[in-house]
Amino acid sequence: MYDKYKANRKGMPDELAQQMPILKEILKAMNIEIIEKEGYEADDILGTLAKWGQRKSLDVTVLTGDRDSFQLIDKNIKVRIPRTKMGKTEDQDYTVEKIEEEYGVEPLDLIEVKGLMGDTSDNIPGVPGVGEKTAINLIKEYKTIDGVYENIDKQKGKLKERLEENKDLAYLSRTLGTINIDSPIEKDLNKLKVEEWNKQEVLEIFKRLKFNRFIDRFNLHEENNVGADGALVCPLKIEYKANLSKDELQEIKEEILLQKIMYYYLDEQNFIIYSEKNNTSYDIENLLEFKDIFENKDILKCSYKQKENYILLWKNNINAKNLMFDVTIAGYILNSNINKYTLEYLANEYLDFNLEEYLNEEEIKEENTQLNLFDNTKKENKDTSYVYPYLIFKLYNVLTEKMKEEDSIDLFKNIEMPLTEVLASMQYDGIYIDKQELLDFGKELQERLEILIKEIYELTGEEFNINSTKQLGEVLFEKLKLTAVKKTKTGYSTDVDVLEKIKHEHPVIERILEYRQLQKLNSTYVEGLIPYINEKTGRIHSKFHQTVTTTGRISSTDPNLQNIPTRMELGRKLRKVFKPKEGAIFIDADYSQIELRVLAHISEDKNMIDAFNNNEDIHAQAASKVFNVPIEEVTKEERSKAKAVNFGIVYGISDFGLGEQLRSIKKKSKRIYRTILRKI
């Protein structure tokens, strides 16, 4: 009919399409009828059913998110549409009256309106240049598109011209925009009736999909609480005890000494130990009571965020030992692609336990139980954290088994867990920064920035706000007519990639790039660093993380030391303000080409191995092989190409990126890449 119709729709995105079979499975288990028909749109089916329902004297409500469906509204047919208002989603019912109030026309007239104005999201063209306002006014006056054209002489100027020129489009658009209310589908009222759900089936699906919130909302909990794989859906009720007597504390310690393991949760406010024997969480008021346990190297400590534990314990003069099971790190070892290894996440993923639900249930139970006076005083301070050590206890067993299965228990025990103490110590000690020198460095940056600003103004012949992407875009691409590589919604893109590409078109680009780098340096590492200088120690205590990167590298924040720029001389100079304390000296050790060495080892490439073993230049050696020249005749250019390729493999730069880096012909670099890959 109209080829371009719905050309804008690229079919469902993968992520949505994948969900459709699941949705159908759920609806089936809920005994909700699904009606689909090849060649008909959902709108058509909804329309057909709505009108059919109306004829059967039913009270019809169409639930949809699509305003196109407004044309279906009629006596006994209303449309219920979700609306987002101030971040809240509300339903809004549209009736004939509501449509008339909002649009000033009757629902059916909306088809005519759409014929004139079109609909970009559906690629319905409409009459070019006619928007909603004009279209509605025309239909108000003449009722239909026919009416508009019968009275075309009453229009004048541009509008008349447009309407006359696009009469075909108007009628076509009306046809395209009309919902088919006569689709050939089966209409059986009995089948459509709401039935009881097949609760067991729905529950199984929800459990499989981990839709715990839904299980709760639809109250699908089973009588027995053991899940399909034996994992705990909902644990026993955990006892909670605070204000412990000397005897009670002694008893807890004895159990720990006997079991040689302590499950606990520790943060600035809480120290809670879980006892398996008594199924009780004990709220310990004074951390120091357990100094001997923490310092006993024979007792395995099992908890959450042990790096922070170390720091807290050290601050309390507790020289903690054998903090060797951190559930967050175990979670990271099992899957490094997760954002945050919270107890909620870990419990959900590995214990099939929803903390929020559990706590809600607890609350209800407690409300229903008459507590005696003594209990009341005890529960005063109880918050959610009393469940944590219990979860840690459960996770300890499950996660250990999983790591054994996956053969990563050694990595956990011998590398990650011992590393936690090292990182804690680095964070605790911090590094001294010469504040005055940092401020001086900031001044130096400011001076260089001012020179750059002047130069940029001179080179462009205009004073403008360099920080404004809009103004910068206009100067570069309109005034200087440089190649505009990318456009964004708001104007020209001036991001680094774009500027790098047009670097050789005009000398100003290089200065803009430097300007930005220096400004970043100044704001992130001069102004940004100052607040991190600890007033007591005069040092910055960066936080080191071992559960962030997907590759296994360590990262740091507050501030991030990893990305202090080292390529620019001025960036390197920033390192001058990091100094050893009185009577000390810095010793720095750098692995030489560690990744290439690992590559040589893993790939078992003889040439690379020989080069490293003979202490040869690895890149020159690669170039010699690829370009088939003796190693002493390798040119600088050939060497740098081979080097880029070597690093391309290590860092996974695509051959496209590689080509750009070399600023050489794409084909050639691709060939080199292939040759090297083959040789490996």
């Binding site: 899957n335 050790a589 490996i680």
Partner: protein, 127 residues
């Protein structure tokens, strides 16, 4: 190298020398660009990840050696392939030795591991 992509796709994950796993669901995507990204991940994770493992072991060994020898010097920073120690002047020599020995002897690969050690009165000088 192409084998590793196939292997990763089949298993769903890729590993370092020390059995650090990284799942690569990207390899099963319907999107070409995402799949390409997945192949690169499959190729470079064993390299980058193993290098990271080696660095971590070096850190642990250096830290323990400093402790064992009752030294006052402290490991302060790890960035990229680099370690920075604040050493008391009298411990300078032994700390240098420890750093070099521990870093270079983490594991015996088919090629030597090499650590370059230098010192200075600022991080800039020491590098």
């Amino acid at each position: 190298m192409t084998n590793i992509v196939e292997e990763t796709k089949e298993k769903g994950y890729v590993e370092t020398l020390y059995h650090r796993r990284r799942y690569v669901p990207e390899l099963k995507s319907n999107n070409y660009m995402v799949r390409q990204f997945g192949s690169r991940v499959a190729m470079n994770t064993p390299i980058q990840g193993t290098a990271a493992d080696i660095m971590k072991i070096a850190m642990i060994n250096v830290y323990n050696k400093l402790k064992e020898n009752n030294l006052k010097s402290k490991l302060l920073v790890q960035v990229h392939d680099e370690l920075l120690i604040e050493a008391t002047l009298e411990e300078e020599k032994i700390v240098k030795e420890i750093l070099k020995t521990e870093m270079e002897n983490v594991i015996k690969l088919k090629v030597p591991l090499v650590a370059e050690v230098s010192e200075g009165y600022s991080w800039y000088e020491a590098k």
